[in-house]
């Protein structure tokens, strides 16, 4: 495998984890988050700052997870009392706030970001293996969660919060746990990203990136684990394969987002389910 391919595959793994982390919050638990890139950023900046301070990756990665999870708890707590529509905007606001705070504080890297993050000591191939391992673990965790009673309760919260309350499901606790788990996983992806790129800057964690992650979840099909994985892979690889249209990349992306929502809002998973149903009714 060439260096380029290894690098690309590493990014694919990181994006898959990122998409799954948002899918947990938005797809499993029904909470729309438009600021998810901020938690990715919290993880990345935490790893970057700690790495430059001399800590090893085995210490900085857990710190990234915890920091992002804590930030998620905070945002989740703020979201508890607000309705769906407000939640989307409030999470968007949290995302802008993160960028705004980092931008003004040179200690956090400011406008230029943090660069020359120390090498974790694995070679490119070794790092790829680590990322893929984490990716598989995250996938397994999501599959387990979906099957567990936590996933079951999330379904109810996503469907009808008031009805969930009447059967004893403490909606607030569940929403908070969705946020904390989802953002913690995003933090893991962020920490790995910091070591992947060896630098972090605010342009990697802004609103457009939040939309990109949401696009992966939605195009894959809200709530679908396989869908998130496939969509993350596609949305990472396609721009690379189609670099002859790189000038039109965003136009195609925007148009694609719109078209999918307009004509196939169930995403890839929904389309696959329809296809399966159609095949079944033939046989």
């Amino acid at each position: 495998m060439s260096a380029y391919e290894i690098s690309l595959l590493t990014l694919v793994g990181i994006h898959v984890m990122l998409a799954l982390s948002l899918n947990l919050i938005t797809g499993f638990c029904g909470q729309i988050s438009l600021g998810h890139a901020a938690f990715y950023g919290v993880g990345a900046y935490t790893a970057a700052l700690l790495a430059k301070a001399g800590f090893w990756m085995w210490a900085t990665l857990p710190a990234s997870v915890v920091a992002a999870g804590a930030a998620g708890l905070l945002v989740g707590f703020c979201s508890l009392r607000v309705r769906d529509d407000f939640l989307a905007i409030a999470t968007m606001g949290a995302g802008f706030l993160f960028i705004g705070i980092v931008r003004q504080n040179d200690a956090l890297g400011g406008e230029l970001g943090i660069s020359r993050i120390p090498d974790p000591g694995l070679e490119a191939g070794g790092f790829l293996a680590l990322v893929l391992l984490f990716t598989l673990l995250v996938i397994a965790f999501c599959v387990y969660l979906k099957r567990s009673w936590l996933g079951f309760a999330f379904d109810a919260v996503a469907a009808d919060e008031a009805a969930a309350q009447t059967i004893g499901v403490s909606v607030a606790d569940y929403k908070l746990s969705a946020f904390a788990l989802g953002t913690a996983l995003a933090g893991l992806a962020g920490g790995l990203y910091a070591y992947y790129l060896r630098s972090v800057g605010i342009e990697a964690f802004g609103f457009p990136v939040s939309i990109l992650i949401l696009a992966m979840v939605v195009i894959g099909g809200m709530g679908s684990i396989a869908g998130s994985v496939v969509a993350a892979v596609l949305l990472t690889l396609l721009p690379e394969w189609f670099h002859f249209i790189s000038d039109y990349k965003l136009l195609v992306f925007g148009g694609l987002l719109f078209a999918i929502m307009r004509f196939a809002p169930g995403g890839l998973a929904g389309w696959a389910a329809d296809l399966l149903a159609a095949l079944k009714s033939r046989t």
Binding site: C78, I89, M92, G100, Y248, G254, F258, R262
Partner: protein, 288 residues
């Protein structure tokens, strides 16, 4: 002292721009519960059309009116082609479709008009008014006059004319309004027309103030407008106006004191989150 007053005036002018954008957003949300992010694209389109028409015809009045009219029509088309077919789907569908539209529009502007923006050949409303040791640009006065005129016009329209009253009734309770014979589709088209025209006016004025119209100009003001409509109580037009003006002022004064911590554009969101923590229904919303 003069600095404080000048800052206040700046803040109110910005607030007026925000009010024009946010009112359109609030109107769409109030009627359809959709977060119409593509509104940002209509704002920028207004800026471009105003510039192109003014440069071509030499008349700013024509540019402003033309931009408002054309963008109003585009808004109606956007409703018909993009939103109407997906009204029955879960809310995130319209939200993301709108985002996709906005991204595509921004890119189209970049490809058609160039990435570096365009300027007026002869900038309208040049010059400034000097009094009491302060300097207010004519363009800024223009914003104030235009905003007051348009919003007062809207208020009169919704309270004095039959069509306006029908619109208000539909926003409050569409089934009731329909049973009185109001054409719901008609109200929706009108809603998008007015809201989009207001955004276009804002876009034209921002283009004049900066003498620059660029593809990405819609983003930041519109994200702030989203924060404003939440603060104003989602769908409450008066609340939106007050919240917009307040935000303009808070940004003007706040960016001086908070610049160590937060950049100017994030102040809106810090305010939003702070308010939501204390009053989840926004400043002027009703507790459900």
């Amino acid at each position: 002292m003069n600095l404080l007053v000048e800052l206040g005036v700046q803040g109110l002018i910005n607030g007026a721009i925000y009010a024009l954008i946010a009112t359109g957003l609030a109107m769409v949300f109030g009627l359809l519960r959709i977060l119409h992010i593509a509104h940002a694209g209509l704002f920028a389109l207004g800026g471009y059309l105003g510039l192109v028409i003014t440069n071509a015809s030499g008349s700013f009045a024509l540019g402003l009116a033309g931009a408002m009219l054309l963008v109003g029509v585009c808004g109606m088309a956007m409703y018909r082609l993009c939103y109407e077919p997906i009204l029955d789907k879960p809310p995130y569908v319209a939200l993301i479709a709108s985002v996709g539209l906005f991204i595509a529009m921004e890119e189209l502007f970049r490809l058609v008009f160039g990435a570096y923006g365009r300027s007026y050949r002869r900038v309208p409303l040049q010059g400034a008014l000097e009094f009491a040791g302060m300097r207010i640009k004519y363009a800024e006065l223009g914003v104030a006059v235009l905003t007051v005129g348009l919003l007062v016009g809207l208020a009169l329209f919704t309270s004095r004319t039959r069509v306006g009253i029908a619109w208000r009734a539909t926003v409050t309770d569409s089934r009731m309004a329909a049973s009185f014979g109001v054409s719901i589709a008609g109200v929706r088209y009108l809603n998008f027309f007015i809201g989009s025209a207001l955004a276009a006016a804002a876009g034209v004025m921002v283009g004049v103030l900066n003498n620059l119209v660029e593809p990405g100009m819609g983003g930041v003001p519109s994200y702030k407008a989203l924060a404003i409509i939440v603060l104003g109580g989602l769908g409450n037009l008066n609340g939106t106006l007050v919240a917009a003006l307040l935000l303009g002022l808070v940004e003007a004064y706040g960016s001086i004191y908070l610049s160590k911590v937060l950049d100017r554009d994030s102040i809106a969101f810090a305010a939003l989150i702070a308010v939501l923590l204390v009053r989840p229904q926004g400043l002027f919303g009703l507790r459900s």
